[in-house]
């Protein structure tokens, strides 16, 4: 169980996260939505320990979160891989760090689940499509079976068809592996379709936190309603009611 307790992040005089708290249980999916600049990326950094918190703490089962080795799927799949190394080399890093060798069966299963063809991993990140690179990114995140996986705008670099396909793969893998997923996205349609809960982040604060179905049907705050109606207008969200 991930618990984020009253964390704040300051950079100089500006506060980028203000007293943020929420919990996320194993096997559940939380989507954090908000506009650019709402502090979504900072939140990811703070949870992973990449950005120091000025107050509050983040724990997994009451121990510091770093100990559970959370994984991250990044927005830009190409830059998440060292251009000089093969995708295989990068994808196996979490196992190398734990001094274990990849279990061929598990690797095979993940590759099948992510629809990664066998010879793809021997290529370099610049030699594959962005969608393929993102799927290898997900492979890297899942290879060491972490209990918590963070997704930072996992779909935004992909084209529309690949987006749907990748979103479905993530959901299926989560169903099988049972990790807790925290998905940061500006795409409310994606959040509503795949997440159990939705947290709306605005100017560094959690504006609204609700079950995703409840949120789509009836947002409790004005800002939540604005976001939802904008998503309706764009056709990104289907009317559930």
């Amino acid at each position: 169980m991930l618990s984020v307790d009253n964390i704040s992040v300051r950079r100089g005089a500006t506060v980028t996260l203000h007293d943020v708290s929420f919990g996320l249980a194993a096997g559940r999916t939380l989507a954090v939505v908000g506009e650019s600049g709402a502090g979504k990326s900072t939140l990811i950094g703070a949870i992973l320990g990449l950005v120091p918190c000025s107050s509050g703490q983040v724990t997994w089962d009451k121990t510091p979160v770093a100990r559970c080795r959370p994984a991250l799927v990044m927005q830009e799949p190409r830059s998440a891989f060292n251009p000089r190394l093969s995708l295989y080399h990068s994808a196996m890093e979490p196992l190398v760090a734990q001094r274990t060798v990849p279990d061929p069966e598990r690797l095979n299963m993940l590759c099948q689940g992510l629809e990664i063809p066998p010879n793809l991993l021997s290529r370099r990140p610049t030699e594959v499509s962005i969608g393929q690179a993102q799927r290898v990114g997900i492979l890297r995140a899942l290879i060491a079976a972490p209990p918590l996986v963070l997704f930072d705008e996992p779909l935004s670099a992909l084209d529309a068809v690949t987006q749907k396909y990748t979103a479905r793969l993530i959901a299926e893998l989560q169903h099988e592996a049972g990790f807790a997923a925290l998905i940061v996205t500006h795409d409310l349609g994606y959040a509503a379709a795949f997440a159990d809960e939705i947290a709306v982040l605005r100017a560094g604060r959690v504006e609204e936190y609700a079950a995703s179905r409840a949120f789509v049907e009836a947002p409790r705050t004005d800002y939540g309603r604005t976001l939802r109606d904008a998503a309706f207008a764009l056709g990104a969200l289907e009317r559930v009611a």
Binding site: L48, R69, E76, A97, Q98, R140
Partner: protein
Amino acid sequence: MRSVIVLVTVFVLLALVGPWLAPHDPTQINIPNRLSPPNAEWLLGTDALGRDILSRLLHGARWSLGLAFLISVIGLAIGTVIGLVAAQGGKIADWIVMRTTDTFLAFPDLVAAVVIAGVLGAGTGSLIFALTITGWMRYARVARGIGLSLLNRGYVVQARLAGLSPVAIARWHYLPSLLPSLTVVWTGMFARAILSISALGFLGFGVQPPMPEWGTMLLDARIHMRSTPLQMIWPGLAVVTCVLAINLTGDALRDSLAEADQR
């Protein structure tokens, strides 16, 4: 560019096989034949003790180039490690490393090297120590600068999240990116080391006689400048052509890297 590579290759070969090409023993003293002008037997003449200058030059290549190579490579290793520690070790480590680097940069290298080599006593060991300890800072600065710029790259963040050790991160993600720039710095430092070794030799704090080193040879030749001025030309010419060839290689390397960057 091609001619420069040829020149450098010739020097490297000379340093490697020079001693076997030498027609005479470089330390063989032959007083009756002292200060002989160049002739068929002694191609570049002999020095004040009657030793063959050509043989001394050829053996000297091993001292001057070999020591310079050794010194610049040790500096490269030390500087890179220090620079990467600064880049990866957080703010406090970075501050300590950068102030230490500033401290070592606070003297002109040659003055510091003269003091260190002189105080520790003349000899090859103190020469190497003096020039290494005054020669790692440039590498450290470059390694740190590039290291800091890579720190927030996606793949470095991923490697840290995966729990890869700093050494493994340095090995796989930093060093390959550092290598081109460090090589350019290294050529410059190699050339500097050649100049510094011969400068220390000329001041009497470097390689000790009777070992033939170009700076020491120049020091010997200086006394007989009036009678045999040619004797003074050769070691200097050897230093200048070596340094020039290495510097030009460095320039060419830097230009081709800049081109590769733009592409």
